[in-house]
């Protein structure tokens, strides 16, 4: 398990507890009381750290190598996932996948970035950075869902849409823009959840919904803190400050009206307990789908339009 810098003292405490355990077993000494005490202190300390995480610390949790990815959620809470491949134009993007899936007794179309669980997978999945083909596949699947009245659930977890030469050639910008237009018009409920890193247009390209959820320690921003720092501070080293200024945490985004509900994570972050995290995700999605299922097509479209029409702060 990768240890984040700001958690190193927590990690040391955990290692000490483990040492005590081993000692007590090996030498047959009763250290239960000491261990319980240490565990209590660990918990208190952890709560202290996690109750006042800085945005930059949140960035690190959101990008944690062990943070659950779409595939984990598919395995943990969805039954019967049938992946549907291809954009019917050019390729099957592995960074952005989708298919029929069942959550509880709710049949739906599941679409999401899939950055993979290890380096090999990361590379195969291009770290969740999709090509235009991925966004076009997503749109095809959303239209399929619409045809058969299935609600759409999207999982957002990407550093951004891929900024490469083929992406430009095949119209990364157009592919995302087209999705923004078409998602506005879909006649079925759309629930989006940011589970890790919600990176800019690459996130938004599958992120127009009736309800936007966000895991507590995920982030969502218009540009990466590093990118923002290198432009507005002319030095990438100001990333921490940029993370602070840009207001990229779930808490800030809820206040700005961009996010409708924050989904809780276990103490220590989603990666410390994927099962519990997935359960929270499951019930949050199901709760909102139940409400949205009661709405008619026109109402869903109007609801979505009004939501976005009111986002933004300006003077007049």
């Amino acid at each position: 398990m990768n240890v984040l810098e700001f958690e190193s003292h927590l990690h040391e405490m955990e290692e000490n507890i483990e040492k005590f355990r081993i000692m007590s077993e090996k030498d047959n000494i009763d250290l239960n009381k000491q261990i319980l005490d240490l565990e209590k202190r660990l918990k208190t300390e952890k709560e202290a750290v996690y109750s006042k995480l800085t945005p930059w610390q949140t960035v690190q949790i959101a990008r944690h190598a062990q943070r659950p990815v779409l595939e984990d959620y598919i395995n943990l809470i969805f039954t019967d996932f049938i992946e549907l491949h291809g954009d019917r134009r050019f390729s099957d993007d592995r960074a952005l996948i989708g298919g029929f899936a069942t959550l509880g007794d709710q049949k739906l179309m599941l679409i999401g970035h899939n950055r993979g669980n290890n380096v090999t997978e990361n590379i195969e999945r291009n770290f969740g950075m999709a090509l235009p083909d991925g966004y076009r596949k997503a749109l095809r699947l959303m239209e399929l869902a619409e045809r058969f009245g299935l609600p759409i659930v999207t999982f957002i977890d990407t550093p951004g849409a891929y900024p490469g030469i083929h992406a430009e050639e095949r119209g990364q910008a157009e592919a995302i823009a087209r999705n923004l237009c078409e998602m506005a018009k879909l006649k079925v409920p759309i629930v989006c959840i940011v589970t890790g890193e919600g990176g800019s247009g690459g996130a938004l390209g599958i992120g127009v919904g009736n309800v936007i959820l966000m895991l507590k320690h995920s982030i969502y921003s218009v540009i990466s803190p590093e990118g923002c720092a290198s432009i507005l501070w002319r030095d990438g080293a100001f990333a921490e400050q940029a993370a602070e200024s840009m207001k990229i945490t779930a808490q800030s985004l809820k206040k700005l009206g961009v996010v409708d509900e924050i989904v809780s994570e276990p103490l220590g972050g989603a990666h410390t307990n994927p099962v519990a995290t997935a359960k929270s995700v499951r019930s949050a999605i199901l709760k909102h789908l139940r409400k949205l299922n009661a709405m008619k097509a026109d109402g869903l479209i109007e609801n979505r339009f009004e939501k976005y029409a009111h986002l933004g702060v300006f003077t007049s």
Partner: protein, 280 residues
């Protein structure tokens, strides 16, 4: 979606007031100032298309005196109380107001093109690199809604470095907001023409500016999703010169037609004669 590197672009569009001659940035020819202006800042020698302010564009695109501005009072707030390397966003807004006499990066309104009623939104690169902030998005959506309500064609002229980072996620949300407006025009059969000018990048290409019923572009305009530098860093090689120019985009299928500035008004009138708002 990196914000276009506005600092590298010369945002001055007018020659110093006392100069008689303008030096073309591309072919270095010396052009008599009045010729340069009369030719809409296009070099008569090499056809280089120079920068224009939004007002200048409106002037030559619409019939004389027909422009009526909409929502001119809408202006940026500073929802994040944003502070960064250059100081505070709020201060820079004020400074830019003074320098450009603009309240936002887009001017919207109604007018006629060879007698055809239109709603038009024109971006101005001088205002925060034409970046897409909350007020920009609001004005573009309100203009779309005006077109919808009055069954008038909608024209947007883009010129932008992308999202306005100083407004964080709210800037990103303007992409969805403006596209929702375009989607409603599509459904009702209201024509929407997008004109892309140099440069148009990031959040603006990834929203309203690439989804026109007809996408027009000026010659050699740089248009892209990611900036050149970001791509070069990603792929670790130099890009060809014509990469992301409008001619390149047309070859790759994203631009309907490249139109010289001096022919833009006629072309718009011609296209609009085919795109009649559907009767509802």
């Amino acid at each position: 979606m990196p914000w276009f590197e506005m600092e590298r672009v010369d945002v001055k569009t007018k020659p110093p007031k006392d100069a008689m001659w303008i030096k073309c940035k591309s072919c270095k020819a010396m052009i008599f100032k009045s010729v340069w202006i009369e030719n809409l800042h296009v070099c008569p020698e090499c056809d280089f298309h120079g920068k224009l302010t939004a007002r200048e564009r409106i002037d030559f695109t619409l019939d004389e005196g027909s422009f009526k501005e909409l929502n001119e009072s809408i202006a940026p707030a500073d929802p994040l109380k944003f502070e960064c390397g250059y100081g505070s966003y709020a201060e820079k807004i004020k400074a830019t107001n003074l320098k450009t006499a603009l309240k936002e990066a887009v001017i919207t309104g109604t007018g006629t093109i060879q007698g055809i009623n239109v709603v038009i939104a024109v971006m101005d690169f001088r205002f925060f690199g034409g970046s897409l902030g909350s007020a920009t998005g609001e004005k573009i959506l309100l203009a779309a809604d005006y077109a919808l309500k009055h069954s008038m064609p909608y024209i947007v002229v883009s010129s932008s470095g992308g999202a306005r980072m100083e407004e964080g996620i709210l800037s990103l949300m303007q992409m969805a907001k403006t596209c929702a407006g375009i989607a409603r025009l599509n459904v009702k059969g209201i024509p929407y023409i997008s004109i892309l000018t140099d440069p148009t990048y990031g959040g603006v290409t990834a929203s309203y500016s690439t989804v026109g019923d007809v996408n027009l572009a000026e010659p050699h305009a740089r248009i892209g999703f990611a900036g050149r530098r970001v791509i070069e860093q990603t792929i670790n090689e130099k890009l060809p010169d014509d990469f992301q120019q409008s001619e390149y985009l047309m070859e790759h299928g994203f631009i309907d037609k490249i139109v010289r500035r001096t022919e833009m008004k006629d072309t718009l009138a011609q296209i609009l004669s085919y795109c009649q708002p559907a009767k509802s």
